[in-house]
């Protein structure tokens, strides 16, 4: 079992976010997202409701996962389809019977890609506003895909200024009085908190959410669990209803990303159309994101001499790159340990108080 060791990242030498600006920039500019393959992690491969007796196929970095339920209702995750007569030799990721570690939590089937003996429930990310036993109504759940590599989808998410342009017709444009961004990180997570004062109201909240004011006070948090490629997107809107989105970007293959989203709108009154429409916004919003990340993806596939330019708003995105690369480097050296506990309840960090 993979122990959670004392956090050596508190020692400045080990924190990959270095104060040496040149070293930091060099790492940011060496970003090759297609090359990153992080293992020893739980991936949310399917909504629980999508897995039944007939095996469904999923993939992480092209590694196949077949998921189904046995007669006792327990989920099984196998490297080969039970009917596959041509099944090849089993990989290092499964036990002797070709099965991956698997568990269910938050309404998802999670499977472990890595050394099976290192799988442990304490490496499942904390998602405060999803019920641990699942059971959210189907209208809050769905699947969308992005035509890009997963780290680009997560980079997209961690800089929310993009929403003011790509998603202006859903979540509102860039007009606001002020915006502050704070970034926190440890070795396994990065958290971005964006506070907007007097932001123009998101159209979807005007049209479906009954918000009549001209402006909203907004606090948006994106928290990414690096190894699992899974993000929490938590938005508090005043006036308006809070948005509680779980946004895992499973790296199916190096150029395609699968999002089995859960948007828990239980906090919205049942008479408010927003409760039913906001989860559906994922279909429009994901197409808008993919329209940008899809042409981006091939442009990051080969090393480029030209460095990306950055603004002060890119702090979170740059740190995301450096943290991902640091994890990849550690794993390349054979160090798969979790130096921070991802399953610790993060309600305080994201500002979730249960409402």
């Amino acid at each position: 079992m993979l122990e959670i060791s004392d956090n050596p990242a508190t020692s400045a030498n080990d924190d990959p976010i270095t104060s040496d600006q040149r070293q930091f920039s060099a790492k940011v500019n060496a970003w090759m997202p297609h090359e990153i393959m992080l293992t020893d992690a739980w991936f949310p491969l399917a909504h629980s409701f999508a897995v039944d007796k007939k095996p469904v196929r999923r993939a992480v970095y092209s590694q196949p996962f077949y998921l189904w339920r046995g007669s006792d209702g327990q989920v099984i995750a196998a490297e080969n389809h039970p009917n596959d007569a041509l099944a090849g030799a089993k990989s290092e990721y499964t036990d002797d019977s070709g099965h991956y570690p698997v568990l269910e939590k938050y309404g998802y089937v999670w499977s472990w890609l890595g050394k099976p003996e290192n799988a442990a429930p304490e490496h499942v990310p904390s998602i405060p506003y999803l019920p641990e036993d699942g059971g959210l109504p189907l209208h809050m759940l769905g699947t969308v895909r992005f035509d890009c590599c997963a780290p680009l989808s997560l980079e997209n998410l961690i800089d929310l200024t993009h929403a003011d342009f790509i998603h202006a017709d859903v979540v509102g444009d860039e007009k606001m009085d002020s915006e502050t961004v704070e970034v926190f990180h440890d070795s396994e997570t990065i958290t971005m908190v964006r506070t907007c004062v007097n932001k123009s109201v998101a159209p979807i909240m005007k049209i479906f959410g009954g918000v009549r004011a001209d402006v909203q006070q907004v606090r948006q948090v994106i928290r990414i669990y690096l190894r699992s490629h899974a993000a929490i997107a938590y938005g508090r809107f005043s006036p308006g209803d809070n948005v509680q989105l779980f946004h895992p970007c499973v790296p199916e293959t190096r150029d395609r990303t699968r999002l089995d989203y859960a948007m828990n709108t239980s906090n919205v009154k049942k008479t408010n159309l927003f409760r039913y429409m906001m989860p559906k916004a994922s279909y429009k919003v994901s197409r808008q994101d993919s329209s940008m990340t899809s042409p981006q993806s091939p442009r990051y596939m080969r090393p480029e001499k030209r460095k990306d330019l950055h603004s002060p708003l890119d702090e979170a995105g740059q740190k995301y790159r450096v943290l991902m690369m640091a994890l990849a480097e550690r794993q390349a050296r054979g160090d798969f340990a979790y130096r921070d506990n991802v399953s610790l309840d993060c309600s305080d960090i994201i500002g979730y108080d249960g409402t």
């Binding site: 980079e155 800089d159 200024t161 993009h162 003011d164 342009f165 790509i166 860039e174 002020s178 915006e179 329209s291 940008m292 042409p295 981006q296 442009r299 990051y300 030209r306 990306d308 330019l309 950055h310 603004s311 002060p312 708003l313």
Partner: protein, 307 residues
């Protein structure tokens, strides 16, 4: 001085102030639009922030182009970054914060781009021929030009006209252009070309040895001009060729067969090539093209040395 290459990448009517427009020159994607004065602007179709295509963005009221991803805004003439809206401050950005800009020249209904932004623009060409179109062809640029020399019927159609396999003049060099003249017949019932003594029409093609931009002149046997066209093939991504063309049908065309040219579309540039026919197309005129290009290039180098 060796001249910079000005590629005819768009027709004037394709570029507006409403929406950015994307073209390629080889592997270089380019975004085009018109600013508030109607001048065409050209930048690399790549935001230097996160490499998103600028052509997916929008044109602002002040004529600048804004990336659709994070709103980075660029001046059209210089490519300088002039605004990041979410920073909410009037600030100047360092010179390195720019998208690459290119030389632009618009005349005679063509928008020409030079990858060297500092290259002096060519002279104005005159007026825009009234008929025009754009085709994108899955054939590599050099092969496209070779096919134009060896059998234009694979690439274009002229209403009421059939190209013959026979040349009045094979490819030769005139004033730095590659020039040839092909005999043609009317589409109406005619004696088979191999047995024909004198052909009623000829097609003269004069081609730039580097860009492949070609002037096509169709004349009858009394040297009445029937059709004049300019065809501009430009290499694009994945070895595809983007072809812009402009043409004019002569209003006075003696004879019934010539009049029929005006029924429907006089000139069509094909989007799809007959691959089976292309595979077995025997090189004829094109065989000389490479030798001629070498001679022209060698002469230009000599002139550069002397200069």
């Amino acid at each position: 001085m060796s001249e910079a290459i000005w590629w005819a990448v768009a027709r004037s009517e394709e570029i507006s102030a409403e929406k950015p427009f994307n073209v390629d020159i080889g592997d270089q994607p380019i975004v085009l639009w018109r600013d508030t004065e109607g001048a065409v602007r050209a930048l690399e179709d790549r935001c230097p922030h996160r490499r998103a295509p600028l052509s997916l963005g929008c044109i602002l009221g002040n004529g600048a182009i804004q990336c659709g991803y994070h709103g980075w805004t660029f001046d059209g003439a210089s490519g300088q970054l002039i605004d990041i809206p979410n920073l909410k401050s009037e600030r100047k950005y360092p010179p390195v914060y720019k998208a690459k800009s290119f030389g632009v020249h618009e005349s005679a209904g063509f928008v020409r781009i030079c990858l060297d932004a500092k290259a002096p623009p060519p002279a104005d060409d005159g007026y825009a021929l009234p008929l025009s179109g754009t085709s994108t062809v899955a054939l590599e640029h050099g092969q496209y030009i070779a096919a134009l020399f060896d059998d234009p019927s694979l690439l274009i159609s002229i209403k009421g006209v059939r190209f013959s396999p026979y040349l009045l003049a094979e490819l030769c060099e005139q004033d730095g252009q590659l020039v040839m003249e092909r005999s043609c017949q009317w589409a109406s019932p005619h004696w088979p070309a191999p047995f024909t003594s004198d052909f009623p029409i000829s097609l003269r093609i004069a081609t730039d040895p580097v860009t492949g931009e070609s002037d096509l002149t169709l004349r009858d046997d009394e040297f009445n001009l029937l059709l004049h066209a300019t065809l501009a093939p430009v290499p694009g991504a994945r070895q595809v060729t983007q072809v812009r063309w402009r043409a004019i049908l002569s209003p006075e065309r003696p004879g019934l067969a010539a009049k029929i040219m005006g029924v429907g579309t006089p000139l069509r540039v094909h989007d799809h090539i007959d691959g089976a026919a292309l595979r077995v197309l025997k090189p004829s005129a094109s065989i000389h093209a490479d030798d001629l290009r070498e001679e022209i290039a060698a002469r230009t180098d000599q002139q550069d040395e002397v200069a």
